[in-house]
């Protein structure tokens, strides 16, 4: 049998969104040794990072959607992730994003998240998703605002305070 969900590939102006690969490990592992990872589940070593990569790849097949790896078209480098996560302990599907060191400040996360959100609304029927954002993560909050999201409430995720942001329903906006 084959895994039911071939992970779709999305191309934007500067990025390719695609499924995770073994070769993405070094870029993920590097990110997860930096303090920026405190906002996305916490810093961890390579073994735990690989375990997380396996779960993210498996998520696609358990849910039918998941997180893409953001590949930077020009350099071919692994630049971050975006997509829809719905772990068992998530209240509903979430739009998430992160860009790795060296890829910030160029609007890449915005470009990637917009494409992921449009795919979710159009192909998955997931409209007006939430985003979990650590209250200390100003950059991510700024991007959420730029994406038209607003804070719905302060909550808690796996024992840490988290803001739940709500995205606009793009299908309504287009209608």
């Amino acid at each position: 049998m084959s895994l039911r969900t071939p992970i779709p590939v999305i191309e934007t102006e500067r990025l390719i969104l695609r499924g995770p690969r073994d070769a993405d490990l070094p870029a993920y592992a590097q990110y997860f040794t930096t303090p920026r990872a405190d906002f996305t589940g916490g810093q961890r070593g390579e073994v735990e990072t690989y375990s997380m990569l396996m779960i993210l790849a498996g998520h696609w097949h358990m849910r039918g959607y998941g997180l893409w790896v953001i590949e930077h078209r020009e350099t071919g480098k692994t630049a971050g992730w975006t997509g829809i996560l719905h772990h068992l302990d998530w209240p509903e599907p979430e739009l998430g994003w992160a860009v790795f060191d060296g890829f910030e400040g160029q609007g890449l996360a915005h470009e990637a998240a917009l494409a992921a959100r449009a795919y979710a609304a159009g192909d998955l029927g997931i409209r007006a998703p939430i985003s979990f954002i650590d209250p200390r993560n100003d950059r991510s909050a700024a991007l959420a605002t730029r994406l038209g999201a607003t804070i719905e409430k302060r909550s808690e995720l796996r024992g840490t305070p988290i803001d739940i942001w709500r995205h606009p329903d793009e299908t309504e906006a287009a209608a």
Binding site: V47, Y50, S51, I55, H61, L88
Partner: protein
């Protein structure tokens, strides 16, 4: 990624997918999971199933869900495992509640080993066994493996390394013997 299905005399080994959420939850809720990181919550069992599927996508091989061919009952999770942090590629077997004592683990693991040697071309393979897990050590011994060394994993702790006989040392090896 296409996960091959293997057949043995009594068992079907197929790729893990979303239908395995409940059996995986039940296994990790049971005491039988005590040698492989359990018991664990439903949420962690769900994530574990994710790693089982994800290993296939990332490595190109992995562990199968084991069904009794005649009844369709899911009795375990057996196959090839080599995530980051593993000492070398491994054959592992988890047998679910009520499936023990019937030789299923050995039968499925032999098919997995034949796949590793005959299809993937591996020249050696190990099995990691928790020192207190006597039932698992017996499966390794029955497969002709011997206690080779020890290994400590940062998350899973101390384990025995059992080394399987090389392909040339298996008299009646070969996929056809198990299919």
């Amino acid at each position: 990624m296409k996960i091959p299905t293997l057949h043995t005399e009594r068992l079907t080994l197929r790729g893990p997918d979303a239908r395995d959420i409940e059996p995986m939850r039940a296994f990790y809720a049971s005491d039988r999971s005590r040698f492989v990181g359990g018991p664990r919550t439903a949420e962690l069992a769900w994530r574990h199933l994710g790693t089982e599927i994800g290993h296939w996508t990332l490595r190109g091989y992995g562990r199968w869900m084991v069904e009794v061919t005649e009844t369709g009952e899911i009795v375990g999770n057996v196959g090839l495992w080599n995530p980051e942090g593993w000492p070398e590629p491994e054959i592992g077997w988890d047998l679910f509640e009520g499936a023990e004592g019937k030789g299923y683990a050995t039968e499925a693991a032999l098919a997995a080993r034949a796949y590793a040697y005959d299809v993937l071309g591996w020249t050696t393979v190990i099995s990691l066994v928790k020192p207190a897990n006597e039932a698992s050590a017996r499966v390794a011994a029955r497969m002709g493996a011997f206690l080779d060394s020890e290994f400590t994993h940062e998350r899973w702790g101390h384990m025995q390394v059992w080394r399987h006989p090389a392909p040339a040392d298996i008299a009646d090896g070969g996929m056809e013997a198990y299919s």
